[in-house]
């Protein structure tokens, strides 16, 4: 049996939400409240292969990487970015509640 060929998954803005649109499709296949959820689901669909996930910005632009390999573990980096974001969110919420 031939192995299943995975298509690239695009994480795109969808009104105030975020959605997944497989490459070559005009329609989105799933809609999420947060960009983080959309990225995680797109990575699952792409078999956790980062090269098969293209994340876009609010203006529709795709964020493209460098043309040379990196030594960074992207999973670890992504997790660190999210933890920083969450910590800042908590700090901001505490400030508002004071």
């Amino acid at each position: 049996m031939m192995p299943k060929v995975l298509s690239r998954q695009h994480v795109v803005p969808h009104g105030k939400s975020w959605a997944i649109r497989p490459e070559g499709n005009t329609r989105v296949t799933a809609i999420f409240r947060s960009k983080r959820e959309a990225i995680d689901r797109a990575r699952e669909i792409a078999g956790n292969r980062d090269s098969l996930v293209v994340v876009h910005g609010r203006n529709g632009q795709a964020f493209l990487g460098p043309a040379v390999p990196s030594t960074i573990d992207r999973n670890e980096l992504r997790q660190a970015i999210r933890e920083l974001q969450d910590a800042r969110g908590r700090q901001a919420a505490e400030k508002r509640s004071k």
């Binding site: 609010r58 990487g65 043309a67 040379v68 990196s70 920083l84």
Partner: protein
């Protein structure tokens, strides 16, 4: 990584790689990335094992856009400037002029210097090209790159220079913490690592 068919999304950054220039380099890589383009530069040739000039020619041939910063063209330790930047600008102009197809001939080049008209003293032949000055300020360099890319790629929805600079400062604030987590030195990132850090950071923000 950039594919060979990414010509229209690739930007060649021809600039110095010394410590003093590094904040400008990082700001330009960030501006190119947030605008949705692949940053490329001669650092890709550092570890390739290929003949350096051949690799640089390949990069120039693979990029629709070129940013050439001549701001460090000045007498150095031996009383002579480093000629790499003006030389690679000449190669890119040659590729545009004598390119093998219409895409190469439609290449767009941005020339940066630190002050207006300084280039006339050492490279007057480039008069009439798109030349802007950044006064050695990352904020101004980002504005120059953003305005030029927006115009040349006809993308008028691109965030403005001030927005990009604010994002760049946030990224700079986060970078030491992030590098600590992935056990890298933020002052000594390879070009691949810097590009990947910028890309992943941008992906996680709704920019």
């Amino acid at each position: 990584m950039a594919d060979s068919d990414d010509f229209d999304r690739c930007v060649f950054i021809n600039c110095p790689f010394d410590t003093e220039y590094h904040p400008l380099f990082e700001a330009i890589v960030f501006a190119v990335s947030i605008a949705g383009f692949h940053p490329r530069c001669a650092l890709e040739a550092s570890n390739s094992g290929a003949y350096r000039l051949a690799k640089i020619l390949d990069i120039i041939n693979g990029c629709r856009y070129g940013i050439h910063d001549l701001s460090r063209t000045q007498p150095g330790a031996y009383g002579l400037p480093r000629f790499n930047m003006p030389f690679e600008l000449g190669l890119d102009i040659g590729c545009k002029r004598f390119g093998s197809d219409e895409r190469r001939q439609a290449k767009s080049l941005l020339i940066l210097d630190r002050s207006r008209f300084r280039y006339q003293k050492f490279l007057s032949d480039i008069a009439g090209q798109d030349i802007r000055h950044h006064a050695s300020s990352p904020r101004r360099a980002i504005g120059c790159v953003r305005d030029w890319l927006s115009l040349e790629s006809r993308n008028f929805k691109m965030p403005g220079g001030d927005h990009i600079f604010a994002r760049y400062r946030e990224f700079r604030r986060d970078l030491p913490n992030l590098c600590l987590r992935v056990r890298l030195n933020p002052e000594n990132l390879t070009f691949g690592d810097l590009g990947e850090a910028i890309r992943t950071w941008l992906e996680e923000y709704e920019t």
